[in-house]
Amino acid sequence: MENKNIEDLLLNSFDKKITLTEEEVLKQGLSNNSEAKKMNNHFLQIRELLANKEESTFGFFFAERVINKIKVLQDDVEYQLFSLVKRFRLLALGLIIALLSINIVLADGLSVKSILGLEDDTITELVQIDLYKEIIK
């Protein structure tokens, strides 16, 4: 059997259950093939060295630092506003879509005016106000 296949079989055997036939092939490979034996030793060394045997930590008083940071954030107005927006963004989006839908239904058609909920008169008034401002200038 090719070394590449033995290598794949070997790696599979570490992380999943291999079939009895595969197990037999691997056993034979490891007993007859010196390169396969070497590979096996290499992978075992790598796995042994990688395995985290000590409890990791972020250093002293990490939990206290986290709690302090949360308290600082809670006092920050900008953060509060951001959290509020984040929390209610779906509700706000739903509300906007609902309002737009109501406008479209009431106007009995799809147009910019119906989406904005403006009457013809309102637009005319707005234009007139702008014109009036221009004249005054």
Binding site: L11, D15, F43, I46, A51, S56, F62, V66
Partner: protein, 178 residues
Amino acid sequence: MAQQPDDILINQTIKGDMNAFKVLVQRHEGKVAGVVKSMVGSVEEAADIGQEVFIRFYESIAKFRGESSVSTYVVRIAINLSLNELKKRKSKNSFFQLSKEAEMIPAKESKHDLKEMLDIEFNKLEPEFKSVATLRLVEGYSTEETATLLQIPLGTVLSRLSRAQKKLRIGLEKHLKP
């Protein structure tokens, strides 16, 4: 309080008891630190990412339904934030990254042991391989748990694991005992 189960501590946190949340942080710091340090290295940013993990957990604690364990939940956040950090580093491709890598490469003259060389090779792995190897090989999660945490198929976990180990072996071949 230190003996109480996670769900009780979560309820107390929701009611405003920060001591309960502190116990949760202390209880899960080890797992999160293991994952983050393995992913981004034992650099200053690791502790910042760790803080961010628990802040995100705190922010979403009211929504926490207990469908997964707290450990799974925070480790998932840790993996995502670490991947973001690696992406940021890659896109920056700045002096920062080069200097970080330079710190990790041993000088030719200095004698570094196998573990240090392995760490250097591990840091060279692409993020998708590193995340799988971190969970399975460093933190000892099963392949199924790794797949669940990363939300990828089991087959993908196995193939990435296999490729990661082949890469590590190639990088270390001369230094490993026969």
